[in-house]
C-alpha cells in the first residue's frame, strides 16, 4: 500500500492510549525506559547544572546551579499538573486537552503506545520520560542569561515559556494516535476513530473489490486517524529525540534572552574565563550519559534500533569532539579541552533529531559537521552579531539543532547501503499488523524538516519576547549592577560556593 500520507511518518515520542487485547507490555522495555528516564533526570540535575556552572565565574556558580535545580523542580510539578495533559492528549493539531490534568485517569495499569504495533509501555514511565524532556528544555536556556538575571524573573519566564512554547511544540511534533490505530481492525479502530466511523470503515473495507479499492479505504481511514495528530507530525517533520522541540526551541529562546537582557557588566573589559573547567568536564560526562537515555529512550523500546541509536549517539559525540578540536587546532594552534567538551555537546545536539533514522557512518558525518559549524557559530557568528549569549545556548543548541534537523532529512535516505543506510520512514497503515518503509523523496523530506525548524524558531522567539516583557514589567529582568558585580551567589542567594 503505497499510501502517500506522510502524516504517518513516525516522528519521535508518542502518546498514551487505552489498551486493547493484543497490546502487551514487555518488562525489558519497561526496565529500559525506567533507566532512560532516570538518566535524563541525571542529565539535568546535576549534569547540565554543572556543565554550565563550571563556565561562569566563581561568584555566580550557585546561581546557575540554583536556576537549573529549581527550574527542574518547578517544571516537574507543572508537567504533572497540566503539562502532560496539554501535550499528550487529543485536542487539535497545536495543543491537547486538560483531560489528564492532575494525572486524572493515569494509573499503574494504563499503557502508552510505542512505535511498534501491539507493543506498549506503562503510561507512568512514558509520562516520567516526557517529564524529563519538559524539565531539561527550559533549563537549557539558563546558559544564555547566566550571571545577570533576577531569580524571580527566571521562574516566571520558565513558567510562561514552558506553557506556551514547549507544550505546543511537543504536541505538534510528537502527538499521534500510535501505530495500532493505523491497523484497520475491529479491536483497534473503535478506540481510534469512534464506534460509528469504525464500523463504517470496516464495512467499506469488506466491500472493497480489489487492492486499489482497499488502498483507498485505508488511506481514508488513515486520514481520519491522523486528524487528531500534531500538526508537524502530520507534516512529516522527522525529529527522533527532540532536535526541534528541545534544542532549536531552547536555543532560540536563549538568543532572545541574551539580546533582550543585554550584556553582562564588564564584558570585553574584565576576564570572564570559566572558573572551573573540571566542573564542566564532570557536567559534560553526565550530559553524555544522560543523552544516551534521552536519545535511545526515545525509541521507547529495548531493541536493535535502540542499540543503533546508542551507537549513533556515541559516534555523533565522538566525531564532533574531534572536529571541534581539529577546528581549533587549525585556526588557533591549540585544541582546548573546553573546545572538545563543547564539540561533544554540539555533536549530541545535532545527532538528536537524526539518531533513530540514520546509519552509523552518517552519524559520524553529522558529528563532524556539527563540530565545525557550531565552532563557527560560537566564534564568528556570535562576535559578528554581538549578543552576549553567556554560555552559547544558541550557538550550540540552536545552530546544532537546526543543522541536525536538516541533515536528518538527507541521511534518513533508505536507498544508501551498508553503514550509510538510513531507515527511511515507516508506513504503519495496513489491515494486518505489518508495516513498511515509504519511498524516499529528498525535496519532500527537506520541506517537512524546514517546516519543523521554522515553526520552532518562530514560536519560541515570539513566546520568549512576550514572556520577557511580562517579566520586565512585573518583577524586573536584571539584578542591580552592584549585585551583579558582587556576584549572584551572594546577592541573590546569600551564600558563597567556596570557603
Amino acid at each position: 500500500m503505497g499510501l502517500g500520507f506522510t502524516a504517518l511518518l513516525a516522528t519521535a515520542l508518542l502518546p498514551a492510549q487505552s489498551a486493547w487485547a493484543a497490546a502487551s507490555i514487555n518488562k525489558g522495555d519497561t526496565a529500559w525506559m525506567l533507566v532512560a528516564t532516570a538518566l535524563v533526570v541525571f542529565m539535568t540535575v546535576p549534569g547540565l547544572a554543572l556543565f554550565y556552572g563550571g563556565l561562569v565565574r566563581s561568584k555566580n556558580i550557585l546561581s546557575v546551579l540554583m536556576q537549573v535545580f529549581v527550574t527542574f523542580s518547578l517544571l516537574a510539578i507543572l508537567w504533572t499538573v497540566y503539562g502532560y495533559s496539554l501535550a499528550f492528549t487529543n485536542g487539535n493539531g497545536f495543543i491537547g486537552s486538560l483531560d489528564k490534568m492532575f494525572m486524572n485517569g493515569v494509573t499503574t495499569s494504563s499503557m502508552a503506545a510505542t512505535f511498534s504495533k501491539e507493543t506498549y509501555i506503562p503510561e507512568y514511565v512514558y509520562m516520567a520520560f516526557q517529564l524529563t524532556f519538559a524539565a531539561i528544555t527550559p533549563a537549557l536556556i539558563v546558559g544564555a542569561f547566566a550571571e545577570r538575571m533576577k531569580f524571580s524573573a527566571v521562574l516566571l519566564f520558565m513558567t510562561i515559556w514552558f506553557t506556551f512554547s514547549y507544550l505546543p511544540m511537543a504536541h505538534m511534533v510528537w502527538w499521534w494516535a500510535g501505530p495500532d490505530c493505523y491497523t484497520l481492525a475491529a479491536e483497534t479502530a473503535k478506540a481510534c476513530v469512534g464506534d460509528a466511523a469504525a464500523t463504517d470503515f470496516l464495512a467499506k473495507l469488506a466491500a472493497a473489490a480489489d487492492d486499489t479499492a482497499k488502498a483507498t479505504v485505508l488511506t481514508d481511514y488513515g486520514t481520519a486517524v491522523s486528524a487528531a495528530n500534531g500538526w508537524l507530525f502530520n507534516k512529516g517533520a522527522l525529529d527522533f529525540a527532540g532536535g526541534s522541540v528541545v534544542h532549536i526551541n531552547a536555543g532560540v529562546a536563549g538568543l532572545v534572552c541574551a539580546i533582550m537582557l543585554g550584556k553582562r557588566v564588564g564584558l570585553g573589559k574584565e576576564a570572564m574565563a570559566p572558573h572551573n573547567l573540571t566542573t564542566t568536564a564532570i557536567g559534560t560526562g553526565m550530559l553524555l550519559l544522560g543523552w544516551f537515555g534521552f536519545n535511545a529512550g526515545s525509541n521507547l523500546e529495548a531493541n536493535g534500533l535502540t542499540a543503533l541509536v546508542l551507537v549513533n549517539s556515541i559516534l555523533g559525540a565522538a566525531a564532533a569532539t574531534l572536529a571541534w578540536s581539529l577546528g581549533e587546532w587549525f585556526t588557533r594552534g591549540h585544541a582546548s579541552f573546553l573546545g572538545a567538551a563543547s564539540g561533544m555537546v554540539a555533536g549530541l545536539v545535532a545527532i538528536t533529531p537524526a539518531c533513530g533514522w540514520v546509519g552509523p557512518m552518517s552519524a559520524i558525518v553529522i558529528g563532524l559537521l556539527a563540530g565545525f559549524v557550531c565552532l563557527g557559530a560560537v566564534v564568528w557568528l556570535k562576535a559578528k552579531i554581538g549578543y552576549d549569549d553567556a554560555l552559547d545556548v544558541f550557538g550550540v543548541h540552536g545552530v546544532g539543532g537546526i543543522l541536525g534537523a536538516l541533515l536528518t532529512g538527507i541521511f534518513v535516505n533508505p536507498n544508501w547501503t551498508g553503514g550509510w543506510a538510513g531507515s527511511g520512514v515507516t508506513d504503519y497503515a495496513a489491515f494486518d499488523t505489518s508495516s513498511k518503509i515509504l519511498e524516499y523523496s529528498f525535496s519532500a523530506q527537506m520541506i517537512s524538516q524546514i517546516y519543523g525548524v521554522v515553526t520552532a524558531i518562530v514560536l519560541s522567539a515570539v513566546v520568549s519576547v512576550i514572556a520577557l516583557l511580562i517579566c520586565k514589567v512585573t518583577v524586573g529582568l536584571r539584578v542591580e549592577e552592584q549585585a551583579e558585580r558582587e556576584g549572584l551567589d551572594l546577592s541573590s542567594h546569600g551564600e558563597r560556593a567556596y570557603s
Binding site: 564588564g266 573589559k269 574584565e270 558585580r485 551572594l490 546569600g494 551564600e495 558563597r496
Partner: protein
C-alpha cells in the same frame, strides 16, 4: 626608592595596571586579599547556621618605584581605582632601601 602598597577593589585592577603603564611603570605584583574597614561585609546562611562575614575581597598591589615617580604613581592609582563608593581602598607608601633584579643582579632603580 619607594615601596607602594595599594589595596583596591578587584575589578579595578586592570584599570590601575593601565594607569601605571601609562607612567612607564610596568612591574607590579598582585595579591588577592581580604579587607576589613568601613565597608561592611555581609551575612551568609547555610541551613541553620548564620555567619557574619566581616571581610570583603580586595586586591593588593605592590609597586617599587623611584622616589621621583612615587607621587605620580600614587595619584594614578588613586584616580584609576576610585569609584567614589565606600571600600575603594588605601594606598600606602613605605621607604625602600634596596632593589635587586634577580636575573642580572642589577640594583637600585635599574632593577625596577
Amino acid at each position: 626608592m619607594k615601596y607602594i602598597i595599594a589595596i583596591i577593589k578587584p575589578f579595578k585592577l586592570e584599570q590601575v595596571r593601565e594607569a601605571l603603564g601609562a607612567l612607564g611603570i610596568q612591574g607590579i605584583t598582585v595579591t588577592e586579599v581580604k579587607g576589613h574597614g568601613r565597608q561592611r561585609g555581609h551575612t551568609e546562611f547555610y541551613r541553620g547556621a548564620e555567619y557574619a562575614v566581616s571581610f570583603v575581597p580586595k586586591v593588593k598591589i605592590e609597586v617599587a618605584v623611584e622616589s621621583s615617580l612615587a607621587d605620580r604613581a600614587i595619584e594614578a592609582i588613586q584616580v584609576a581605582a576610585q569609584t567614589g563608593q565606600i571600600g575603594d581602598g588605601k594606598i600606602f607608601m613605605l621607604p625602600l632601601e634596596l632593589a635587586v633584579r634577580v636575573r642580572t643582579g642589577e640594583t637600585g632603580t635599574a632593577a625596577l
